[in-house]
């Protein structure tokens, strides 16, 4: 039941629910604001640099034919400067005695490419490094200055800044100094801006595979397919490099620039689908910027592509992020689930980074470190966590469902069994009733009438009372057989009711009183397993007890006690006691009656009948005293045996 706990909205009146929802919205927005502020604060922290003494900031810049003094960092107004790149000329001093140490030039950040010359010797051209060529990555560069080039004292350094768009050129402060002083900072930047994105891209590749498999197995959930496509595009963008220079493939490479809008469009579609939105035809407009950019890359020139990138891709990413922020916020508030909440936080982080990047493009930030791409990793982590959460929850639900199903199937099976048994029981009872009706008619038409005639004739003849008694006994037994075949629904009291009548009719001519005492209110427990042959055995046993009292004991009163007793094992057992106030007899040690062989046979009969029903028979007799008489006590079993106990 608790599997759905997070989907159940508590039943609240409208006003209270509105208040709850608005308070949740405020809490959510506050949290996102805190995340955004924290993000900005982190982004404003400048990365640690090498010792300031090696920093070189004063340069003489030759740009577009004009020459002037500048201090780094420098934002160039140019978007394209390949043939006549801005040239920075500066000086640095190597103290004497440093010759034994290798010196390096460290350029933490530049767009798009640099060529570094020391003392008129080119020591670095970043255009040869594809990874460094991408303006969206903050790839640092370091170059060791050959010892032969350096001299003690003043050295000349010249940097040419190649700019090929889509954003304006930029050159951060540079450091020239001993390699071991610069290298740690370089390594740190490489780790954060080169290695970490590769790690995240690998993670993205794994996600693409997992999501692809999930979509293949679950075609009805297109959200996974869309996200897998987004991941695949991201991986392609990360690992396919864009070398400078015109190669036959460079035109296709240009398509890669459209990856950002396509990927963001795909992720947006995923977020929409995840929040329960149904795909609409008009939604293709989401992909228009990306497709337009790709087509421009294929058929236009690079300059056009780069120009379009700024007006298509960057806003597309931002708009996607904004829509996702709204959608995930709604989803998180309505469904109150962890996946939407994590995604919402990730979107906020990304949006913050995107805004900061935009500001830095427009030179409103002191530096130019792009973090949007890096923060995308936050989103990937959120997506991974959310998916795992959903997967685990789905597994739990499946387990719960399977468990419920097993229980239900078992219940249904038991019900079926019970109803089958009931049906069988009913069919058996109906068959018995039909058989009984048939038997009754036969006996009624034949044997019964003849017996009655015998009774009547013997009475007229006067001298043959024995025949009359025998015929009467036969009739009585006939009635018992018919009676015991009736369906009494396991209530032995119904059989005893008829027996009482017959016993009274039998005792009346002998002037023996029958004292009938149902001690417990409902008499005897109901035994659904009670069968006609059990009833016959019990009634004949009781008949025998009464007949003994009439014939041998000279009793004046017979008492029948019917009660339900709780045994030592806590089970209820019926108990029937037949007691007379006659002369009693001696009971031999083996349980038989001392005296007439006939009486002994009668007692043996009673014992055998009790045993066949699984009942206990207790005989006691007392020839003298206040308690003289015979007592037959029959304790019924808790459950009557299915088969004849004496057969074995």
């Amino acid at each position: 039941m608790n599997d759905h706990g997070d989907d159940v909205q508590p039943e609240l009146p409208g006003r209270a629910r509105r208040r709850l929802r608005s308070s949740r919205l405020i809490q959510y927005l506050l949290l996102q604001a805190v995340i955004a502020v924290a993000g900005v604060a982190v982004l404003l922290q400048s990365l640690p640099g090498p010792p300031a003494q090696y920093q070189v900031t004063a340069f003489q810049l030759t740009e577009a034919g004009a020459e002037r003094a500048v201090t780094l960092p420098y934002f160039s107004p140019l978007r394209n400067a390949m043939n006549d790149p801005p040239r920075f000329r500066g000086h640095f001093v190597r103290p004497a005695g440093e010759a034994s140490r290798a010196w390096s030039v460290f350029l933490p950040r530049f767009t798009n490419g640099v060529e570094v010359t020391v003392n008129d010797v080119v020591i670095l051209d970043s255009r040869r490094d594809p990874a460094a060529n991408r303006p969206d990555r903050n790839t640092p560069a370091i170059a060791v200055i050959p010892a032969s080039v350096l001299r003690d004292g003043d050295n000349a350094i010249s940097i040419r800044l190649f700019i090929w768009g889509p954003i304006t050129g930029f050159l951060d402060r540079i450091w020239v100094g001993p390699d071991e002083a610069l290298r740690p900072t370089y390594n740190l930047r490489t780790l954060v801006f080169v290695t970490l994105p590769v790690v995240f891209s690998s993670w993205q590749a794994i996600l693409a595979v997992i999501l692809g498999i999930m979509w293949v197995m679950r075609r009805h959930e297109p959200a996974y397919g869309v996200l897998a496509a987004a991941m695949a595009v991201g991986v392609g963008q990360a690992f396919l490099q864009t070398p400078m220079g015109e190669t036959p493939f460079s035109r296709f490479n240009v398509i890669l620039i459209s990856s950002a809008p396509i990927e963001s469009a795909l992720v947006l579609v995923f977020a929409l689908l995840l929040s329960g939105w149904k795909w609409q035809r008009y939604a293709w407009i989401i992909f228009i910027p990306g497709i337009a950019l790709a087509l421009a890359g294929l058929f236009g020139n690079q300059a056009l592509v780069r120009a379009l990138f700024l007006i298509l891709a960057v806003p597309m990413v931002g708009i996607s992020l904004l829509i996702m922020a709204v959608v995930t916020a709604r989803s998180a508030l309505q469904r109150q689930n962890v996946a939407s909440f994590l995604l919402g936080c990730a979107v906020t982080i990304m949006l913050t980074c995107w805004i900061v990047d935009l500001l830095s493009v427009f030179q409103m930030m002191p530096n130019r470190i792009f973090t949007a791409r890096l923060s995308y990793s936050a989103m990937l982590v959120a997506i991974g966590a959310g998916l795992t959460w959903r997967f685990a929850r789905a597994l739990n639900q499946v387990d719960g469902f399977a468990g419920r199903l097993v229980t239900q199937v078992r219940e249904a099976e038991e019900k079926l069994k019970a109803s089958f048994a009931r049906e069988e029981e009913r069919a058996r009872a109906a068959a018995l009733a039909r058989e009984r009706t048939r038997l009754m008619r036969d006996l009624h038409d034949g044997l019964g009438g003849q017996l009655v005639s015998i009774v009547a004739l013997s009475e007229r003849g006067n001298g043959s009372a024995g025949i009359g008694d025998a015929a009467r006994a036969a009739l009585k037994d006939l009635r018992l057989v018919i009676d015991s075949m009736d369906d009494i629904g396991g209530d032995l009291m119904l059989a005893l009711g008829s027996w009482r009548e017959r016993a009274m009719a039998q005792l009346r001519p002998h002037d023996i009183a029958l004292d009938w005492r149902a001690v417990t209110a409902q008499g005897l427990p109901v035994h659904p397993e009670l069968r006609p042959w059990h009833v016959i055995q019990i009634v004949r046993l009781l008949d025998e007890a009464v007949t003994n009292a009439v014939k041998h004991a000279e009793a004046r009163r017979i008492t029948v006690r019917i009660e339900t007793l709780a045994g030592a094992d806590g089970l209820k057992r019926g108990c029937i006691t037949v007691e007379d106030d006659g002369k009693g007899f001696e009971i031999t040690p083996d349980g038989g009656a001392a005296g007439a062989a006939k009486a002994a046979r009668g007692l043996r009969n009673m014992r055998s009948r009790a045993a066949r029903c699984g009942a206990e028979l207790e005989l006691s007799s007392c020839a003298q005293g206040a308690h003289k008489g015979t007592r037959v006590r029959l304790t019924l079993p808790h459950r009557f045996p299915d088969s004849d106990g004496a057969a074995g």
């Binding site: 109906a430 009655v452 009547a456 009467r472 009676d483 009938w516």
Partner: protein, 225 residues
């Protein structure tokens, strides 16, 4: 038991006895005559009708299987012609097959053919006094019919819908072998009212009024079968 002393009162009571088995007829006739009843005996349906033509008896005792017809018809006729006549069926086994079919046409009890003479006289006396006899097995049959079952059980048709819960309780008590006194004390009744309840139960199980109503309704087209 002491029925002979009731002679003067019983003298006025006429009993029509219908039984085709001669020895059985004799012993029943003897038992009743000794108790002081005025008995008119018949061996066939025709003889029985002739006896009834002489005037309304107080009591009609009849067997069901007769050489020239069925006792059920005799009971139905008598019930219609002489509503004040008490009718009992003579049964060999006291089984519900014969007893219930007699009850549904107007009998209010049964007599076992092998009953002791004193019991025969006592039963008739009780019947005249308004105490309809009922056996545990008949009571059991009736109450089991009051319990709803998916399909009609075998045996004679019986409509128990008119019985009140109290009457059903009384029948349960009888079926389980309780005496009238025990039933009366369980149900908070006066002991004397129990036999009256039993007669009322028999009357409610009589089917002819209802059957005629249905017949009438069908004839008039009120009910489509």
């Amino acid at each position: 038991m002491n029925s002979l002393s009731d002679g003067p009162r019983a003298e006025a009571i006429t009993v029509v006895l219908v039984e085709d088995d001669a020895p059985t007829l004799w012993r029943l006739q003897d038992a009743l005559a000794k108790a002081g009843y005025q008995v008119r005996a018949a061996g066939t349906l025709a003889e029985a009708r002739a006896c009834l033509a002489q005037g309304a008896p107080k009591v009609l005792l009849t067997d069901l299987q007769l050489p020239d017809g069925h006792g059920v018809d005799l009971i139905r006729e008598t019930r219609r012609r002489f509503p004040d006549t008490e009718i009992m069926v003579i049964s060999i086994l006291g089984d519900e097959e014969s007893v219930i079919s007699a009850i549904t046409v107007g009998a209010t009890g049964y007599l076992l053919k092998d009953a002791f003479p004193t019991d025969i006289a006592a039963t008739v006396r009780d019947l005249v006094a308004g105490h309809s006899p009922i056996s545990a097995s008949i009571a059991r049959f009736i109450v089991r019919r009051t319990q709803s079952t998916p399909e009609p059980p075998p045996g004679p048709v019986l409509n128990t819908t008119k019985l009140t819960p109290r009457e059903i309780d009384i029948l349960w008590g009888i079926a389980k072998g309780f005496s009238y006194a025990e039933i009366a004390s369980h149900l908070g009744l006066s002991r004397q009212t129990v036999p009256g309840h039993i007669k009322s139960i028999y009357r409610k199980l009589e089917v002819h009024t209802r059957g005629e109503a249905v017949f009438e309704a069908v004839q008039q087209g009120l009910i489509k079968l």
